[in-house]
């Protein structure tokens, strides 16, 4: 077994308590350890991505329990890509949090951040449905702490909504898992795939209920309409670095939909046929439309960005809902793009808010107005899907893949119209914030404590800054890194879309995944002290699979 598979989960799980227990009062040391852990995570994720790039599926059996009985971690192209994306995003956001001093405005930012990473990476790597629930809870409970980081009345109120909504989602997740377990007798995803395929079609009521409840849970996470109500308030009021990191959280929901509804409840599984795609596609299109309208109507910059994020999630889910390899490849490309773009938007929004407040209206000219307006412009172009950047390519790929769909006219109309509305929304906001302010009289220029104009570095300084970061430069470095990621995604669109195409083909031909995970299912227990017989294990595996769930999960 390749122990590197569990390293990205174990590392933050060790660093977080270490920071809490020994470095509570040393913010500088916390920053060093947190960023060092984050850099290591990027290295591990790179190594994993290289290993998975040729399409091999690797399985890590926790506690050496073979697959349907124990929990497994599975590394394939999709999970490797998502883990790498998470770690890169987290590194940039972590640098921003340190540079903008957000992490020092409350207690325990860095430990919670590490736990959050552990939960997200675990959710991407696990091959077990109940373990997916546990990692969802890990990432959620860390996100509750991060959401209300630095306090404040509005943030607490938004936090209550966020926590309650997600508690309901977790409850629904358990109901779904219980229903599925009662029908199939297993929760291992590969084993579920085999068993669901064998279920008789005339006796499919329970499994259909379970599948729909599971879809609802993931739709809540992905903020699909009409389950998106938690997102605008939460993201608008969360601390900016946290909102930027949350850009990957909606993708966790999208990833889970993609994984479960290709592997287990795939498009050609008879018992759940006509269940998912038919509902998901109209809902995703509505999400795109409502997000675009929200962008146009937003009066506060955090909300503007939140609805921008909803639009991009809607576009992503539209592509996923087509459930064809081409559309899924496009969706994966768009996932990377929209994660980086949404994070960049939230960070730009924070820079504006730090300097002149959150309202979208003409205010006195802020410090570094020119630089920030350029960053806003680039991030807005990327989000809206205008030509030079990867958003355009992503949308183009999705539209191209949608040509074969029965609803292709609707998909084209909604995505193109919403792109236009999004551009108008961002243009309106940018004009009000950056241009109208020049028309105001400048005698009442106010600068907030953070917006120190004299520390404004020139553009050359920021590009050279990673060596010796000055306090005011580091946020820009983080933001430039995210935008550089978008540019790289555009320049290397060819290799990237080859990778996503290969990933999508793997997803729609899951035999290799299933066989690798279940390769050891009949392996006899060799070193048991008693004579555990191989024939005994073979005939009872449906009843006592996953016996070690609690043992592993309680250690989290």
């Amino acid at each position: 077994m390749n122990h590197l598979l569990i390293a990205p989960i174990v590392l933050p799980a060790l660093v977080a308590p270490f920071i809490i227990m020994t470095l509570r009062f040393h913010i500088d040391l916390q920053r060093i350890f947190s960023i060092a852990s984050n850099v290591l995570l990027v290295a591990i994720a790179l190594a994993l991505a290289v290993q998975a790039a040729d399409g091999t599926v690797q399985v890590y059996e926790l506690g050496d329990w073979q697959a349907p009985f124990g929990i497994v971690l599975v590394l394939d192209r999709l999970s490797a890509m998502m883990v790498l994306l998470t770690t890169l995003l987290a590194l940039a956001v972590n640098l921003y949090a340190v540079g903008s001093n957000w992490d020092a405005r409350g207690q325990n930012f860095h430990p919670l951040y590490q736990f959050q990473l552990m939960g997200i990476i675990g959710a991407f790597l696990t091959g077990d449905a109940f373990n997916l629930f546990v990692f969802f809870e890990v990432l959620l409970i860390a996100s509750y702490g991060l959401m209300i980081h630095a306090g404040g009345t509005r943030r607490f109120q938004a936090g209550v909504q966020y926590v309650v909504y997600n508690l309901l989602g977790s409850t629904l997740f358990l109901f779904a898992l219980g229903t599925i377990y009662s029908v199939t007798g297993t929760l291992n995803m590969a084993d579920l795939a085999l068993r669901v395929a064998e279920l008789p079609v005339e006796d499919s009521a329970l499994i259909r209920v379970g599948a729909v409840m599971l879809l609802l849970v993931f739709a809540i996470k992905a903020s699909l309409l009409p389950l998106h109500f938690w997102l605008p308030a939460s993201y608008a009021h969360a601390p900016a670095p946290v909102a930027a990191l949350f850009a990957i959280m909606t993708k966790v929901g999208a990833y889970a939909i993609l994984r479960m509804f290709t592997l287990v409840f795939g498009p050609d599984v008879a018992v759940v046929s006509g269940l998912v795609g038919d509902w998901l596609l109209p809902a995703a299109l509505l999400t795109v439309a409502v997000g675009a309208i929200g962008v146009l109507g937003a009066r506060e910059i955090g909300r503007l960005m939140s609805f921008g994020a909803i639009t991009s999630v809607g576009t992503l889910l539209t592509a996923i809902a087509l459930f064809t390899p081409e559309a899924t490849a496009a969706a994966l490309y768009y996932t990377v793009h929209s994660t980086l773009a949404a994070a960049a938007l939230f960070l730009v929004a924070d820079m504006v808010r730090e300097r002149q407040g959150g309202a979208i209206s003409a205010r006195p000219v802020m410090a570094q107005s020119g630089l920030i307006s350029v960053l806003f412009f680039v991030a807005a172009i990327a989000t809206a899907g205008m030509p030079p950047l990867s958003g355009f390519l992503g949308k183009l790929l999705i539209l191209d893949a949608a040509r074969t769909s029965a609803l292709s006219v609707w998909i084209w109309a909604v995505i193109l119209a919403s792109s236009l509305v999004t551009i108008m929304g961002f243009a309106r906001a940018g004009t009000l914030i950056f241009w109208k302010s020049h028309g105001l009289s400048t005698d009442d220029t106010q600068t907030t404590p953070e917006g120190d104009a004299d520390a404004a570095p020139s553009e050359e300084d920021q590009n050279a800054a990673p060596v010796t970061p000055r306090p005011a430069a580091l946020p820009f470095v983080a933001l430039f890194a995210l935008l550089a990621g978008l540019v790289a995604l555009t320049v290397f669109a060819g290799p990237m879309s080859r990778y996503t195409t290969a990933t999508a083909q793997d997803l729609f031909a899951p035999q290799a995944y299933i066989e690798t995970v279940l390769a050891n299912r009949d392996r006899p227990v060799t070193d048991a002290p008693y004579e555990t017989t191989a024939e005994h294990k073979a005939d009872d595996h449906s009843a006592d699979s996953h016996g070690d769930d609690t043992a592993t999960e309680e250690s989290h």
Partner: protein, 117 residues
């Protein structure tokens, strides 16, 4: 017994859903607790209801046994929902104490520059 357990789950769920639709945080938190009780009982029942049987296989004789996995799942779910309830109580308390108001909806006037953004 099946009827009893099923109606208990149904009743708890119904009461929980009614409560989470209330406007103040305290009933909402009670509602989420009731829902988590409902789901715990439900999870317990997914292994089928068996009385007076150990959760252990017996390879020497064909005696009845109960499925141990749902019990393990319930244990995990109880721990998690307990922790989550504690978190939501603290967050709600923080919101109540700083806003002097425990309604769960919020008004959305844009933040001002002086406020912690």
């Amino acid at each position: 017994m099946e009827f009893l357990v099923a109606s208990a789950v149904g009743l708890l769920t119904a009461a929980g859903i009614y409560l989470i639709l209330r406007r103040r945080t305290f009933p909402v938190i009670l509602g989420t607790s009731l829902l988590s009780y409902a789901v715990n009982v439900f999870l317990f029942a997914t292994g089928r209801l068996v009385t007076n049987a150990p959760p252990i296989l017996n390879k020497y004789a064909d005696v009845p046994y109960t499925d141990p996995l749902p019990q393990a799942l319930v244990l995990t779910a109880i721990v998690i929902s307990f922790g989550m309830t504690a978190v939501v109580v603290m967050v709600a308390l923080g919101a109540y104490l700083s806003a002097k108001d425990d309604r769960i909806n919020m008004d959305d006037t844009p933040a001002t520059p002086g406020e912690d953004a």
